[in-house]
């Protein structure tokens, strides 16, 4: 089975790295930038309970 295992490992990483190589989409850069003003932003989501 080692041959199969290395094939799986290779395919898994190929699939994964294909996405990693796309880098950071603009929407996330914007998101972090917008939320970067401390105190001015109320918490977003449900963390305030």
């Amino acid at each position: 089975m080692p041959r199969f295992q290395s094939r799986i490992g290779h395919q898994l990483r190929a699939m994964y790295d294909d996405v990693v190589r796309q880098g950071v989409p603009d929407r996330f850069v914007e998101l972090i930038r917008k939320l970067d003003v401390p105190a001015a932003n109320p918490p977003i989501g449900e963390c305030g309970r």
């Binding site: 041959r3 929407r27 972090i32 970067d36 989501g45």
Partner: protein
């Protein structure tokens, strides 16, 4: 800890692998990016609970994984569609030859139980140690190891049954293929 510039940069630097993890888990790019967005919002809103010096990627992956799990349970109840919708999302992708191989692999990956799939991705693709993967999934290290092993065996059976002829009717292969049903 407060959100410093360097912490913000580190969070952004984790985005590509968070997306890859989310896509591997969900098999759907749009949904994956929504998951990443929600992960970032949660992380930033709870940044005070992040321990300086601890493993930031592991912390972010834990948030994403928990969001995916609760989201998955919700959707499971809403849409009882085991194979149909996923097959459709695959067909909308460009049919390049490299993608065909990815698709075949993703379809097989999607057939794994969720526990095994996430363990395999964390260890085999994200590059986390068994210890980190165990912390992310909230289980024992031994549990992660056995999930990864079962995931590999099952994928071998799903993907390479035809290819098994190349190696002859090996008893080990047969045993693994036969034993993957349970």
């Amino acid at each position: 800890m407060p959100l410093t510039d360097s912490l913000r940069d580190d969070i952004l630097a984790s985005v590509p692998s968070l997306r890859a993890f989310a896509i591997s888990l969900s098999g759907n790019g749009d949904r994956a990016d929504d998951l990443v967005q929600e992960t970032l919002l949660r992380a930033l809103a709870n940044i005070d609970s992040f321990q300086p010096g601890s493993n930031l990627p592991a912390w972010l992956f834990t948030i994403l994984r928990n969001l995916f799990r609760s989201d998955y349970r919700k959707r499971r109840r809403e849409v009882e569609d085991a194979d149909g919708s996923y097959a459709k999302t695959l067909k909308t992708q460009p049919a390049q030859s490299a993608h065909l191989e990815f698709e075949e692999f993703r379809v097989a990956l999607d057939k794994l139980p969720q526990d095994q799939r996430e363990a395999l991705i964390l260890v085999g693709a994200s590059g986390f140690s068994y210890e980190d993967a165990a912390a992310i999934c909230g289980c024992a290290v031994g549990t992660i190891k056995s999930r990864v092993n079962r995931a590999r065996s099952k994928l071998s059976a799903l993907l390479y049954v035809d290819g098994a002829e190349d190696f002859g009717p090996d008893e080990t292969v047969r045993a693994v293929i036969g034993g993957s049903g349970g």
